[in-house]
Symmetry: C2
Subunit: 369 residues, 2 copies
Amino acid sequence: MNNLEKIKKIIIDKPLKLDCGKTIKNYPIAYETYGKLSENRDNAILAFHALSGDQFVTGTNPITNKPGWWSHLVGTNKAIDTNKFFVICANVIGGCMGSYGPSSNDAQKNKKLGTNFPIITINDMVNAQYNLLDYFKIDKLFSVMGGSMGGMQVLQFVANYPNKTKTAIPIACSASHSAQNIALNELGRQAIMADSNWMKGDYLNLENSPDKGLSVARMAAHITYLSQKGLQEKFGRKLQERDDLKFSFDADFQIESYLRHQGSAFVDRFDANSYLYITRAMDYFDLTKQYNGNLSNAFKNTKIKFFVISFTSDWLYPTSENKEIVIALNVAGADVGFIEIVSDKGHDSFLLDVPDFLKSVKNFLEANY
Amino acid sequence: MNNLEKIKKIIIDKPLKLDCGKTIKNYPIAYETYGKLSENRDNAILAFHALSGDQFVTGTNPITNKPGWWSHLVGTNKAIDTNKFFVICANVIGGCMGSYGPSSNDAQKNKKLGTNFPIITINDMVNAQYNLLDYFKIDKLFSVMGGSMGGMQVLQFVANYPNKTKTAIPIACSASHSAQNIALNELGRQAIMADSNWMKGDYLNLENSPDKGLSVARMAAHITYLSQKGLQEKFGRKLQERDDLKFSFDADFQIESYLRHQGSAFVDRFDANSYLYITRAMDYFDLTKQYNGNLSNAFKNTKIKFFVISFTSDWLYPTSENKEIVIALNVAGADVGFIEIVSDKGHDSFLLDVPDFLKSVKNFLEANY
């Protein structure tokens, strides 16, 4: 990866006690910002990225040269108008885009941390990112938002820091990772660990990376981000640059070629150990359990204005799981709006050009700014 | 695998031209039978197995020492009563339980065939198994039935041999493999091929097998055989023999431990190359295309009595795809019954103790015998 000098970092000197019991300090948080912080510092939005995301929300990601993951939503004159709002996004700890993670150096041993990196949680991620408020001298954010694992961070943030944001938008997420989602994440981890190049996570100090395993993990995940109907409409049984079946194990079908591409493109920008750590954090996420089985206690006396969004064809974080959040917010007497957006684009809808979604976010922000 | 002498085989000397263009002859078909063929030879049921199945339908599988895959349905006084019916099941060609497949010997080269085995189709499987009718001197079967890939074989059989069965029960299947299902099969194949022990399929002549890759493929498939709700009810976030999270990559959750077990148990009984070949055959299955885009032509003038069965929580072969078969049969003027069984057990429902399913099959058979 080139252009590494374009990654902005702050070093957090305040110690952070992780859920696993270990304390970290003097660790880097890599971040990016878009727009300008207003004079009275009331227009800041903290966006949380999902499993495979990073701090480069919009414009061109300088490391991958691809558009930022929320380019449809964030930018000049877009739903989140960067002429108006100051958007901050940090790479989660455990990640591989500059924040403290398994590919960070182990200063004491003069090698990469690998699986000596501690197991982290969504709570740890959020607490680490909270330091950005101090750094930017922001007393209260205008909003926190994110989809998928980003949405889980939203929920954890409002539970931990109820007075630190005016609004919150958890999208396509869950307050408690389901058995099916744990299963799918475990599948990805096993695919990585099955790669003989993984070397129990020590590959970073060696010559070869577990690219094949990571690629399989990405393929598996990618299928879950789409919907049965969406896949059928986009790919169906269309063949890949051929008139008929070739009677081989080559990619006869476009869907096969597409998945192979998704897998191989991913390994160029993502670290296999980070994939293990971040999926583990998602699986460990259970906000309901944190509040002794009563999710509404996570939102007790909150003054935050919530907007919960789900998508009809999202089977990874189905509307039913998003509704559980809405119910708990209502039980807590919170101010909450909810919308289920009709889309065939599956879980990925929150990243795509889904006009009703973009418009809903825009209207909610404008109504509350 | 022990007890290999318990596998019954016939050698098919009649040449079979495969869809790929190659012709095979003098190849083995391994089979098993249950019950007794009646004097007038009118009580035979040909059961077709699914991807990971074999010829051992019920009782104890002598190779794995596990119950046969359709033990809930087939047996003395069961829905398919072996006091009454004569059930035949053959291992599909491409399989690894005695029929001609990639683990067969290449006589000319004195080694295992591996990927020198030809790509086969559902049509090839059915045409190979058709030889069993000659072998048992059965002019007309009482029924053909099967779930998942077994259901595809049912559809292909009735299209190829419309006068050779009285009834047909395609279960939890599709007339044309969907993009999502191709994607999921491709994921399994890539997991196997990513294993450095796969050696382009040549591992059968070497010391190590691609067990890790096959195990990952099986884990992926297994998730798709269950339902979101079923997984949540059975596993939820239950921990595996521990009071709290261990903050490691061990199997903290029961669902993780369960999946790992499913993966490792599978490699003891299944050949990785067979997994590649059989999934390929499933992906190539498109009966609609075989009949120039008009599925009802596959059933033209049929006198066969059909019973199509789907399950509410089966997202791999959803009711909508089973209904397309029902519609085509109706368009063809066929005698067809259809039932959608309410079950939380997902695609696997057709293998499990789902009373409404077992009863439906029993009643259909008895009404028509």
